[in-house]
């Protein structure tokens, strides 16, 4: 019978998808911020 490791599986996927989501989110925020600043400079 397989070992009961469901909790570890859930934890594993949460960590993987969590890190990916956090990185993607910060990347979007950094890009948005840089783009806004660049637009502002272009207008000035």
């Amino acid at each position: 019978m397989p070992a009961n490791t469901l909790t570890e599986m859930i934890l594993g996927f949460s960590v993987i998808l969590g890190i990916l989501a956090i990185y993607t989110f910060t990347l979007i925020l950094r890009t948005r911020h840089a783009r806004k600043k660049l637009d502002q400079k272009n207008r000035d």
Binding site: T5, E8, G12, V15, L17, L38, N42
Partner: protein, 227 residues
Amino acid sequence: MLKKPAALVVLDLLSLTLVPVVMLIIIVYTPVEVVMGPVQKVFYFHISAAWAGMVCFILGAVGGAGYLLTRRIRWDWLSSAAIEVGLVFSIITIFSGMIWARPIWNTWWVWDPRLTTTAIMTLIYLAYFILRAGVSTPEAQARLGAVFAILAALTVPLTFFSIRLFRTIHPVVIAPADGAGGAFSMSPRMLNTLLISLLVFTVLLVDLVWRRVRLAQFEFEMTREVE
């Protein structure tokens, strides 16, 4: 203004769709491994993240070599972007491996050759950003970064082959399915899922690297206009 390329929009949509799809495949389609149980399913993302990280680091070295040969800043954008994304994938590999190891090896961490070389590789690439932050001019950042990226890439084959070169408890995944090298035998469904997962993570890495290159481009345009 720098408009978002249509291909990048397509890649964004593909990544957003394919990651949940492969997750569903892992949960529903792939069988539960007979000894390890459900935690083995982390393996598909663990291997894919390791693959994506190593591809990124090689891409970082290619970008570094491109910069040293041409002195065009675009190569530096590629190099630093790939290394940043590679670092994220390496951190995912380490943490998912630790979570997998806890019930199987009964410990979060052992100083096994594969784990140690992966940790060293990750720390070296972390040092890449510390080095860049310590240099003031963009040209010097790019030049030093390029040399570092090329030298650091030596840790990639060392990490990959560590399980073949040294005695280790880490399974050799790319091996005959007869248990040689500690490999567990993969059923056709497991193998299909692994291949799909590798493909999806490749799409994801291209998407993330491209997005990070765009950010580097914006930052460069900003500093250029200030000057």
